[in-house]
């Protein structure tokens, strides 16, 4: 090579003298090619600009939709346990079975029949659900896992599942009114499930991830929003005492053919509610035929005229203000007394009674005479300070205030009847709460449905001396001379007060009764306050001592033993006189 570098080697003709170059082509052809190439580049550049600049968001979104997924991280609702950690309500994962109707219709008939069987419904029902224009139909919710596995094994196209939680209540109807229940969306509807909804319900979390072709999670794209499970709730309820209270109340309601009943057991030291039961009750696990009557939490939401169970407050006020002593004598003969235009009665003419005997025999006239020595304002203050007529603060939904009319409108006859519990309405829990002043040494402590760790500080209502005197009087009520010898408990000294009151229907008293008993045990060092109420006992007996007294006795006997409280009385044989004193109404 060398001297003539630009020479086509094969032919030996120099490039510049190549005959191809000699051919003269029109100049526009090369210009056209150049122009077309230019246009092609502009098009490419424009397209690139369009993709990169203008539609980035759209494209990135489409990309993400193909690999990124947002997963919901469900939070589990907190458990509810009793004071000893026994589970009263707990959530377990179940699945909702849903279908895309169009796809399912194509499945073979025998598979659909099997599906209907697994879902516990007839073919017709299933077909009715599938006969829909929508793309999403719930076939059944809260299906348990074993069943779901079987359904998925059928491999019917268009059948899908979704994770959800179901609440289980192992104690069933025994605990129904305290614990309450949740709806299908896991939100509290009644009882503690409702009042503690905020703490029980957790916060759902979420995470955004990249998934590969096989559906494995490859990595997190964003920071995970952790789910926060609901907090567990420890109630003050002792499930053992609750069971005792429920079964005893149930037995009494059946024996006395009562329409309804309620019982509450309170720890006198801490103010904790150890048991609360109502009848009729319901099974929270199966609420298909639930009625309002069963749902009613009578202990908290029903007010009634308490009758004689209110007498101790009138007497305590008189003792506390030193107007009387336990041995002051009042004449209750001849068993009736006219105030203004109205006349009040005792069940028997008792003759002269001391203040202590007025409580023991439950004399209306005696109580009225004591009340009429006091100004209405002081009585009103007494009732109000123990919580009657006050908006309740028990941390429980649906609790009612009851009614105590303002003292300025009291006429003497009203003041007299109110002193023995008529013309005033309270709930059973308010009565039990108010009796803490007698069970403790004169101070009132708040009630709690949750376990208490620090002892509450009481608010003094009556002096310690008055409380002690009242306890002695309440103990005499269950003596053979009192109105409730049936409430005696073998081995323990107890005390309490009976109540029997007419019911008011449509503003008038009718011949239907509410029998109640509120008692304290053991008397040497009170631990429990038990209030029992039976609505319309219909088996011949309607006095509080006869109807509600035995419930109190049985519950106290079993409850004190389960709490390991040593007996404070050596009396193990109980004498119940044949004709106990009938209380006045």
């Amino acid at each position: 090579m060398g001297a003539t570098p630009r020479t086509a080697a094969a032919k030996g003709v120099p490039f510049v003298s190549s005959p191809v170059l000699a051919a003269k082509l029109p100049a526009w052809r090369s210009r056209l090619v150049l122009f077309l190439i230019f246009v092609a580049f502009v098009t490419l550049a424009g397209r690139a600009l369009w993709l990169q600049g203008m539609s980035t968001d759209f494209l990135q979104k489409q990309g993400a939709a193909r690999y990124a997924r947002t997963l919901e991280l469900p939070a589990i609702r907190g458990k509810i346990t009793d004071r000893n950690g026994q589970v009263l309500a707990s959530s377990l994962p179940v699945k909702a079975v849903w279908a895309i109707p169009d796809d399912v219709q194509e499945a073979p008939k025998e598979k659909l029949a099997e599906l209907a069987k697994l879902l516990n419904m007839s073919r017709a029902e299933l077909n009715k659900k599938l006969d829909s224009d929508r793309n999403f139909v719930y076939l059944k919710r809260q299906v348990e896992m074993d069943t779901v596995d079987k359904i998925l094994k059928l491999k019917i196209p268009g059948i899908e599942t979704r994770k959800e939680y179901k609440r289980f209540y192992p104690e069933g109807e025994v605990m129904a009114h305290v614990v309450g229940f949740t709806n299908i969306e896991d939100a509290g509807q009644e009882g503690m499930e409702l009042s503690a909804q905020k703490t029980l319900a957790g916060v759902t979390g979420s995470r955004r991830v990249i998934k590969d072709r096989l559906g494995h999670i490859v990595e997190d794209i964003e920071a995970v929003r952790e789910p926060h499970d609901g907090k567990d709730l420890t109630l003050s309820i002792d499930s053992k005492i609750q069971y005792i209270a429920y079964t005893q109340l149930k037995a009494a309601v059946e024996k006395n053919k009562a329409k309804a009943g309620g019982i509450i057991v309170v720890d006198a030291r801490t103010g904790e509610v150890l048991a609360l039961a109502n009848l009729p009750s319901y099974n929270p696990n199966d609420r298909s035929d639930l009625t309002g009557v069963q749902l009613r939490n009578r202990v908290l939401t029903d007010t009634f005229e308490p009758g004689s169970t209110l007498k101790p407050f009138t007497v305590a006020l008189a003792l506390d203000t030193k107007r009387v002593t336990p041995s002051t004598v009042f004449q209750t003969s001849p068993g009736q007394m006219t105030i203004g235009t109205a006349t009040i009665h005792d069940s028997h003419a008792h003759g002269p009674l001391t203040v202590a005997q007025i409580i023991e025999k439950s004399s209306n006239i005696g109580t009225a005479k004591i009340a009429l020595e006091m100004p209405a304002e002081e009585m009103w203050e007494m009732f109000t300070s123990v919580g009657f007529g006050q908006p309740p603060k028990f941390g429980f939904p649906g609790a009612v205030a009851g009614r105590v009319r303002p003292y300025k409108s009291w006429r003497p006859i009203e003041q007299a009847t109110m002193s023995y519990g008529h013309g005033i309405s309270v709930s059973l829990i308010q009565l039990a709460h108010a009796y803490t002043i007698f069970a403790r040494n004169g101070d009132l402590i708040p009630l709690s449905f949750q376990k208490v760790t620090d002892l509450p500080i009481g608010q003094r209502v009556i002096s310690q001396k008055t409380a002690q005197q009242m306890r002695a009087m309440l103990e005499s009520v269950v003596s053979p001379e009192g109105t409730a010898p049936q409430a005696q408990v073998p081995g323990y000294r107890v005390g309490g007060k009976t109540g029997t009151a007419y019911k008011i229907v449509g503003g008038k008293y009718v011949k239907k009764y509410v029998a109640s008993f509120i008692g304290i045990a053991p008397m040497s060092d009170p631990r429990l306050i038990v209030a029992v109420m039976l609505d319309e006992p219909n088996a011949g007996q309607h006095y509080g001592g006869v109807v509600a007294g035995p419930v109190f006795a049985n519950v106290v006997a079993s409850a004190l033993r389960s709490m390991d409280v040593a007996p404070d009385s050596s009396v193990t044989n109980i004498i119940i006189p044949k004709d106990a004193v009938e209380e006045s109404m």
Partner: protein, 90 residues
Amino acid sequence: MSGRICAVLAAVLVLCALALVNSQYQHRQLFIELERAQSQARQLDIDWAQLQLDQSTLGKHGRIETIARRDLHMVPVTPERTQYLTMGAK
């Protein structure tokens, strides 16, 4: 001279790239393992809740009482049949 630097840098670059691939791979393996462990933890939680519930259901006082009375023929204690002992008493 500059050719040699280029060669060394190229080798380092390749090594770095391979290390990156490797670490990414390991990251994914570990991530899958973590996922598996977490789902196992969740499952164990659920099992625990289920067992607690079973315990409550089986330990229901009503059930215990029925079995004690009917199958084991037990009767409730009463104070008459109870011997109370006092600590320190003679």
